[in-house]
Amino acid sequence: MNLKKLPNSIFYFLTFLSAVGLVVLTVGLVVTLAVESRPAFQRFGFFRFLLSTDWNYTDQIYGALRPLTGTVLATLGAAVLAVPVALGISVFLTELCPHKLKSPIAVAIELLAAIPSIIYGLWGLFVLAPFVETYIQPFFSGTLGGLPWAGGFFQVRLAGGLNLLTASMVLAVMILPFVASLAREGFDQVPEVLKESAYGLGATRWETILAVVWPTAQKAVVGGIIMATGRALGETMAVAYVIGNRHGALDSIFSPYVTITSVIANEFNEAGPIQMSALFALTLALFLANLLVLSLARYLMRQK
């Protein structure tokens, strides 16, 4: 073997090993999840487990429907709250912002992303939840709560302000920087010359954004939004603090509820064998949900 080429080969081997190592790790993770969740699936049946609302410690019967819907709804709620704000931020930063303000705002957003999730959890517990209890809950139950059929969805179920809406609000703040920066990346891909030709026709900024910037960036921006929102699916500590952790009916946006991660965080330490397996099965479901969301986002972002 040529000695001169040796460093090259070593370098190649090392990088190759790192890349393959990551794949092995992921495969190992999936295999572990599958093996560990098998007892639960065998005991309750695959679809029965996914579609059952049971979470009964005494009879040792577990179903995934509540944590699953909790995860999906808390994430959707966060998206509904965060996406409009994030879109506003990203359009402002790419198209409207005076150049001097650009980097201070960008840094502020990045800093928001650097705050540990436990801090958001504590903030949610001590600041946001009392706020929701004192102001938001009475407001909604006093107004929308009086509606004939849908009113129940806005009535208060339990005092304390720890519920699905509070969890969505905390999640919204947490994903905001990611949604904003990925949406901004989408907008940044619009070629300068395309905007210039709209301005060159006498279009205003707003007209340029509507006719050229948004249609061109659309798919990349939506893909970025989905990818960033996907982070909310697996968010654990902050949600576990504020969602109320009750395996009960979800009949109001103010119901205390559960998500996959909050259940895992709360019950993993003291779980019996079959409960443990059910927790692994939940994790597997979360993993698959994440995979789905990521694939969708990547597909959209690759579209031209």
Partner: protein
């Protein structure tokens, strides 16, 4: 040089007076004085970095989209100085169309691309819009190629067609001037020739200012030529004079291909 010198002097549509332009502290245009004559083609030539594109982008104040630059001097058009601080840029840009090096079809149908400028001018009457779209596409020699697929996305056209579409889009709003920034340099020779042919035909309707790297193109299509070097205007004159009997030594060397 097939070009005939203009018989009578055309009137000046635009006059550039003592124009200086700065990116930050860096002066990139130095005391430019020249006219743009009505219903003619004026070429701006010169080596890369000489400031010809910068000058072109002064006419429609494109520089104003970016920070840290400023103009000095005047560009007179229709009894006003378009470099005035209070100049309405939306109005100005709808009077001076611009065509870029790369075609810039908007992500919408062929028809909507052309109608877009009309929509901005609040021209919405359907039959008027339809007529103006057809007229612009005919002017840009694109009508016969696209008349059966006006509703299709403009992104599906070939590069040359997209460039003629961009030109048609600018023509639809009936501009006073069309600014071409190396508009054929990214195209194949046949597409490029079609556009040159169209430009010569367009002269009866619109004044054109053309930035080009291609000296043969400047010689073929333009009535007047300006040679720029390092931000200054070296020589301006009728195209024939610039190419056959230049006054300046530098012009002679440049058109002979000695530098650039």
């Amino acid at each position: 040089m097939s070009h005939e010198p203009a018989e009578a002097e055309l009137k000046d549509l635009i006059t550039i007076e003592e124009l200086c332009f700065f990116f930050g502290d860096n002066q990139v245009l130095k005391n430019i004085n020249m006219p743009i004559r009505d219903k003619s083609i004026t070429s701006l030539i010169g080596p890369s970095g000489c400031g010809k594109t910068t000058l072109l982008r002064c006419f429609n104040r494109m520089h104003d989209l970016y920070p840290n630059n400023h103009y000095e001097g005047r560009i007179r058009m229709e009894n006003r100085n378009i470099l005035d601080k209070g100049q309405d840029l939306i109005w100005l840009r709808s009077r001076l169309g611009m065509v870029f090096q790369k075609p810039t079809p908007f992500p919408m149908s062929i028809y909507d691309n052309i109608a877009y400028g009309l929509k901005l001018k609040k021209i919405t009457n359907r039959s008027i819009v339809r007529d103006l779209v057809e007229k612009a596409l005919r002017q840009a020699n694109l009508w016969t190629e696209v008349k059966d697929r006006l509703k299709e996305s403009a992104l599906g056209l070939s590069g040359g067609q997209q460039q003629r579409l961009s030109i048609a889009r600018s023509l639809a709003v009936n501009p006073l001037v069309l600014l071409f920034d190396e508009a054929t340099s990214a195209l194949d020779p046949i597409s490029s020739a079609k556009i040159e042919e169209m430009m010569v035909e367009l002269k009866k309707d619109v004044t054109m200012v053309v930035v080009t790297h291609n000296m043969q193109q400047a010689a073929r299509i333009s009535d007047y030529t300006a040679l720029m070097y390092l931000g200054s205007l070296v020589e301006y004159g009728e195209t024939n004079d610039i190419f056959t009997r230049p006054k300046m030594k530098m012009t002679e060397q440049y058109v002979a291909g000695h530098f650039g």
